[in-house]
């Protein structure tokens, strides 16, 4: 048992650190959910890609460097320590890509992954519906078979679609077999956001920016080549995305360790003994997350699976993120309400316990799948 990096991992770390030091913009970019910020974030993705830093763990043929999981965690740690921009491509590279690698055809992989890696095409996640949030499988949007054209026709409405205001492509689940049981009969579709019949209505988030949108589908044709996995198998395919979102890939420890370090710096600038314990607790929890992740990485490298532990992970980082930022705001005192990076981080953190499956749903999963407690009787089923 050890926490040692190998020679080659240390070399990788040094290379990443040096590149980031030379390339990370001095000033934070404008929010990616504004038109200008979006463009600048896409440019940043292109810069990462030029030197193969956008998707380090991917195959070399898709702009990656075939980095190990350990190296990926190292890269993320360095990335956030360097204060590098948020990833406008994250829905694609972290949530959808693992599914395309697992379930996509060779043709789909070759077609979608390179432009996803480079940030040329940004993907939106079209998951929830007005009547299907936590109870995602009750979704009602439909896919009707069109044999003549060799594909499907989508109708319905998705909501809270992250990045959909500006994205080029979207992914989501549609009910392709209305006679099947709730979780069966769903199919996973990929579609260009400018397809005929798609209407996007941006929704201003708490901070006023259009980070998500409502998407309406009015007889949108999707060819068979843009179905991910087998028709009717969408739930199983989608749940592997949900696992990625909850688990390791979306929220690497580097984010929180860097924020905890900045919090300690803030405390040094504005020492307030009444806040000491809160600063310490935020730091300890970030450190716990860092070490927990090394345990997860070791297990996964030995062939283990994330499973329901992804839910444990998700509750932890989402609550940690809020606690970190709340503590910073408390330290800022009356200045806390004034625009700042901490305030932006705080507003973003507030969404953590809601998206990717609310923390209440995660606690149900932990209780039922890890602790083995009896399932709660569900309400009336459709």
């Amino acid at each position: 048992m050890d926490l040692q990096l190998t020679e080659s991992e240390l070399a990788f770390q040094a290379e990443a650190r040096a590149w980031l030091a030379a390339n990370v913009p001095n000033e934070p970019l404008p929010s990616m959910d504004t038109e200008e910020g979006w463009r600048l974030h896409q440019e940043w993705e292109a810069r990462l890609t030029a030197d193969r830093w956008s998707v380090v763990s991917w195959p070399k043929s898709y702009h990656g460097r075939e980095a190990s999981l350990v190296e990926w965690v190292i890269f993320e740690e360095e990335y956030y320590r360097a204060g590098a921009p948020g990833r406008v491509s994250q829905n694609g590279i972290f949530l959808l890509a693992p599914i395309i690698f697992d379930h996509g055809t060779q043709e789909q992989q070759d077609r979608f992954l390179p432009t996803m890696a480079s940030g040329e095409k940004i993907w939106a996640q079209c998951w929830s519906e007005p009547e299907a949030g936590s109870d995602l499988a009750s979704l009602k949007s439909t896919a009707r078979r069109d044999d003549e054209r060799g594909g499907w026709v989508l109708n319905g409405q998705k909501i809270w679609c992250s990045r959909a205001s500006y994205a080029h492509w979207g992914f989501g689940l549609f009910r392709s077999d209305p006679s099947a049981q709730k979780h069966a009969g769903l199919t996973y579709f990929l579609f260009p956001m400018d397809a005929e019949g798609i209407t996007v209505r941006p929704i201003a988030q708490l901070d006023g920016e259009a980070g998500f949108a409502e998407v309406f589908y009015d007889d949108v044709f999707v060819p068979d080549s843009d179905v991910l996995g087998a028709p009717g198998d969408g739930w199983r395919v989608a749940m592997s995305t949900a696992g990625n979102e909850r688990g390791l890939s979306l929220r690497s420890p580097g984010r929180f360790c860097a924020a905890a370090d900045r919090l300690v710096d803030l405390y040094r600038e504005r020492p307030d003994v009444r806040m000491g314990d809160a600063v310490v607790d935020a730091w300890i929890k970030a450190e716990a997350y860092r070490l927990y992740t090394w345990g997860t990485v070791t297990r996964l490298a030995d062939g283990g699976e994330m499973g329901a532990a992804g839910s444990v992970n998700k509750v932890w980082w989402s609550e940690l993120d809020i606690a970190l930022h709340e503590t910073a705001l408390d330290l800022l005192g009356p200045e806390a309400e004034v625009e700042s990076r901490w305030l932006d981080g705080y507003t973003f953190a507030l969404s953590g316990p809601i998206y990717a499956g609310t923390n209440e749903i995660q606690r149900n999963i932990i209780a039922e799948r890890i602790l083995g407690l009896p399932r709660e009787p569900k309400g009336a089923q459709r």
């Binding site: 991992e9 300690v264 300890i284 090394w294 149900n364 009896p374 009787p377």
Partner: protein
């Protein structure tokens, strides 16, 4: 990078668990609480044969020369089974701080104890210890045993001590304190896991309003929170064992204490009135966890130590 126990370390923990499961440790702890320390001392000898008191003693002094990782593996098992006795004092603190024949005796299974004021003002179980010490600014001194004071944990017999003559030390008092705090953190982790397991078992059996109480979200979510807290305390305990810096040890102690305490409060609440009785075995862990949370450095002390190291750096 390999942040999981090795097969050998796992096997060591499994062997201790197996031994303790068959030793009826609840009966041992209850007897100890009533002053009948015979079964507990017999169990001490069996655990010493497995090397538990010798882990931190160097090979040339008759020890196992093991790492703090083996120490936390052993102490998690001791906590899970509520094994009574001055284990932290002997196998962590004195095994590190003593020198010469006294340390060799510990490796061989002698029972010893120590008070380390101000954090550990009383000598635990001095009534059964062959040697009683007290830490002083100039090292370790032998101690004479004074009156007993009662602990919330009836299986912890606390004694006032008075310092006597200076004793040989390895001059590693700071390290010894940290290893004692780390061992306590591991014990808390084991105790926390145990009360969670008890609460889950109970929630699956107990029925109210026509169904198992464990099917209600009010119960589920509390138990899930305990699962989360313990899952994130564990890597801090293991991390501090791999690299036992004062900051890492303090983080482990704080989080293991918080997680175990949450586990005990939740387990008590899930059990309801039956959990509030001395007769029901849960009481053994509830009272032990309360005692260990403030033993070997209170949460406030350890948090202050972390803050100092972060801000002073």
């Amino acid at each position: 990078m390999n942040f999981e126990l090795t097969d050998e370390q796992r096997a060591f923990g499994d062997a201790l668990d197996k031994l303790l499961v068959s030793a009826d440790t609840v009966a041992v702890a209850r007897a100890w609480a009533e002053g009948d320390t015979g079964p507990g001392l017999a169990l001490w000898s069996r655990l010493a044969e497995q090397g538990v008191t010798a882990l931190l003693v160097p090979e040339e002094a008759g020890g196992m020369d093991a790492t703090p990782v083996e120490l936390v593996v052993a102490f998690e098992a001791l906590g899970r089974h509520a094994v009574p006795g001055p284990w932290v004092e002997t196998a962590a603190y004195l095994a590190t701080e003593l020198a010469g024949a006294a340390r060799e005796a510990i490796a061989e299974g002698a029972v010893a104890t120590v008070a380390v004021p101000p954090h550990t003002p009383y000598a635990l179980d001095a009534d059964v210890a062959a040697q009683v010490y007290v830490a002083a600014s100039d090292g370790v001194r032998t101690a004479t045993v004074g009156e007993q004071v009662g602990s919330v944990d009836l299986a912890r017999h606390l004694f006032r001590v008075e310092a006597g003559g200076v004793h040989d030390t390895a001059d590693r008092a700071a390290e010894a304190f940290d290893l004692a705090a780390l061992a306590t953190a591991a014990q808390l982790l084991g105790a926390g896991e145990r009360v969670l397991a008890e609460a889950v078992t109970y929630a699956k059996q107990r029925r109210q309003f026509g169904r198992e109480i464990g099917s209600y979200q009010a119960i589920k979510h509390q138990l899930a929170d305990v699962r989360i807290a313990l899952d994130f305390a564990r890597p801090l305990v293991l991390g501090a064992a791999v690299e036992p810096t004062p900051r890492a040890v303090s983080a482990a102690k704080v989080m293991a204490g918080d997680a175990a305490y949450l586990a005990s409060r939740t387990a008590l609440q899930v059990h309801g009135a039956i959990g509030y009785t001395q007769e029901f075995d849960l009481s053994i862990w509830i009272t032990k966890i309360r005692a260990l949370v403030t033993a070997w450095g209170t949460p406030a002390f350890h948090r202050a130590r972390i803050l100092q190291s972060l801000v002073g750096a």
